[in-house]
């Protein structure tokens, strides 16, 4: 029995990482095709990560600079265990959706602390923008989560997923909340219209301005996990998880491609306009969804 | 267009010569330069396009010129005056034409002409720790400077040591 536990303990993060990294690969290929370019070869993100990890001359600005990416990656691996994979309950028993919201924040807080230690104003401005954006998209996110909890009378993520497994997805039952959910996942991934925090031309890739070599490698692995976490959460909340891994991957791929299309086309929001946008349209949609559930 | 030239001619101490249909030269003596600029501005020449100097090494003088432009009459005017070459000094035209401020700082650094009254006359402008003579003066030999400060790449045949491939 113990062998199975260890197998899961190692297998799940690797599976999550491979899903995340494959989505990143698709992303660069599709983005290139949208720009009528040929695009890099398929496993380019993987090569980038290994090249960064193999860099010889790494630098450090202090303890917190090193700990930032380390804790961020550790936090992302932890979160993966609390999101139900197809067919596996994992550890959703010990932390429900509200706890999950707080666990997901450890990673961004650790990166922010690491960026702060790198003593570069670009990274500080990037972090200030990232946190402001987080406050922006958290309002609709919370309303959506409350709507789902009230609809299914439980905060256990696995139970919410099971309740929709039959095909009555929350996407069709609560369409407005689903739209708000997609827009929030958009902001949580930091995709183009909301990427004022890591804008290359404004703040020299924001928090990552001073990161290079193995630290940047860890951050890119963390980004792969982050993509998996956001999409898996959305699929579990609104599309009822999946019986086997291929359905799960297909659903995540569909949502991600939808996000890429918007990402490549829209210009970038200024950070306070992004917060105003989030507190206006997605919040109204989510509130209407909430009232529908409250009234029913 | 004619009467603008008449009006400029009437300004005291200005010898006006018409070079082209929309370009006139106004030569003025050194001490009436600033007042001339003021009068030209009153005439409607409210843009200072550029202001610099010409190093007349042969008759040992600098020639300061201000290129002005009149939008209504669509005519350029170049106000010129001669100043002596050793420890040359001019008054600032900053108050009349604000853009002159930067041009004058460049003048000081490139020609060595001191400008009295410029708000940032002392501060370094472009060149970083430049020890030599102001570079735009004609008596500054740039090839000699280049040979002394930089090494040229030897052509492939003369190349002896293999360090730079």
């Amino acid at each position: 029995m113990v062998g199975k536990e260890i197998l899961i303990a190692i297998g799940i993060p690797l599976l999550a990482f491979s899903i995340g990294i494959s989505l990143m690969m698709f992303r660069r290929k599709i983005a290139a095709r949208i720009q009528r370019r040929y695009g890099p070869n398929f496993i380019q993100p993987l090569i980038d990560i290994f090249k960064l990890l193999a860099k010889k001359g790494n630098i450090t600005h202090g303890i917190m600079y090193d700990l930032g990416p380390i804790i961020a990656l550790a936090a992302s691996i932890t979160v993966v265990f609390f999101i139900p994979m197809p067919g596996m309950k994992l550890m959703t028993g010990s932390a429900d959706v509200i706890a999950l919201l707080y666990i997901m924040v450890i990673g961004s807080l650790a990166t922010a602390l690491g960026a702060g230690e790198s003593a570069n104003p670009n990274s500080s401005i990037g972090v200030a923008r990232a946190l402001t954006l987080m406050l922006g998209y958290d309002l609709p996110f919370v309303i959506v989560i409350i709507t789902l909890v009230l609809k299914y009378h439980t905060t256990n993520l696995y139970a919410i997923m099971q309740a929709q497994a039959g095909g009555s997805w929350a996407m069709w039952v609560l369409p407005l909340s689903a739209i708000a959910g997609i827009i929030v996942t958009y902001g949580a991934l930091g995709e183009h219209p909301f990427d004022a925090a890591v804008a290359p031309n404004e703040v020299a890739t924001g928090p990552m301005a001073e990161y290079g070599g193995k630290h940047l490698g860890l951050l890119m692995i963390n980004h792969a996990f982050h993509i998996y976490i956001e999409l898996a959460l959305f699929v579990d909340l609104f599309m009822g998880g999946a019986s086997n891994i291929f359905y799960f991957y297909a659903k995540m791929f569909v949502i991600f491609v939808l996000i890429i299309f918007f990402d490549e086309v829209l210009p970038r929001f200024r950070i306070d306009d992004a917060v105003r946008f989030y507190w206006r349209w997605p919040t109204i949609l989510a509130l209407i969804g909430l009232i529908i559930v409250l009234v029913k | 267009m004619k009467e603008i030239i008449e009006r400029v001619k009437r300004i005291s101490g200005a010898e006006v010569s018409v070079r082209r249909e929309n370009l006139i030269f106004v030569d003025v003596s050194r001490d009436k330069l600033i007042s001339m600029l003021y009068d030209m501005k009153l005439e409607g020449f409210n843009q200072l396009s550029i202001m610099s100097a010409v190093d007349r090494l042969e008759d040992n003088e600098f020639e300061i010129f201000y290129v002005l432009y009149n939008y209504r009459e669509k005519i350029n005017a170049v106000v010129r005056s001669r100043i002596e070459r050793e420890n040359a000094e001019i008054e600032t035209a900053e108050k009349i034409y604000p853009p002159a401020h930067t041009y004058e700082r460049e003048l000081t650094e490139m020609f060595g002409i001191k400008v009295l009254g410029n708000s940032e006359s002392g501060k370094p402008f472009i060149l970083e720790n430049w020890k030599d003579k102001p570079p735009m003066r004609k008596d500054f030999d740039s090839v000699r400077y280049v040979n002394s400060h930089y090494e040229f790449r030897h052509s492939a045949e003369e190349e002896t040591e293999g360090k730079n491939e």
Partner: protein, 170 residues
């Protein structure tokens, strides 16, 4: 790690570095205009995994595009020293080779190689994107064979480079 795996490790890391060179978006001279066409759809250097990055910490290649005057040289040296170790320098156009048309100018340095180690020069008074793509392919071969060792040369005779830099920068 005995000799064999040491060799294999170096070969694999060279292959990795070849396939994903990150270019520093720090263009000094008039050559910067040639880069957008190489990045975008017609010539698309991303096919080779070459992507423009913003800060020296994240980049591998430093492009010195066009003439380098003393003021820019001071910034180029700082940026070069801030880049992480396996780093390469490409000199665009004739000005970094021998000063080009500015051969007699008091402010332009005549030979970039004296101040920072250059792995690759591209001749032409601003080479066209095709030339840049062939240069990148040539650099990738150099990296693959491990011959692009400018950074090692910089470390070994650091005082030689520093002396030249002090001579010009003062």
């Amino acid at each position: 790690m005995d000799k064999m795996t040491e060799e294999q490790y170096r070969a694999i890391s060279n292959m990795l570095r070849k396939r994903s060179l990150w270019m520093l978006h720090y263009c000094t001279g008039c050559g910067a205009m040639e880069l957008p066409p190489t990045m975008t759809s017609r010539y698309d250097m991303e096919r080779f995994g070459i992507v423009p990055y913003v800060t020296p910490r994240q980049a591998d290649i430093l492009l010195v595009t066009g003439y380098v005057n003393t003021k820019t040289l001071r910034r180029i040296v700082t940026v070069y020293e801030q880049m992480l170790d396996p780093k390469y320098v490409i000199g665009f156009g004739s000005c970094p080779i021998n000063g080009g048309v500015y051969w007699d100018s008091y402010s332009v340095i005549k030979q970039l190689d004296k101040y920072i180690p250059v792995d690759l020069y591209i001749a032409g008074c601003m080479p066209r994107p095709e030339a840049i793509i062939t240069a990148f392919r040539h650099l990738m071969d150099l990296v693959d064979k491990g011959k692009a060792d400018g950074y090692r040369r910089y470390k070994e005779n650091l005082d030689y480079y520093k002396k030249n830099q002090r001579k010009v920068l003062g």
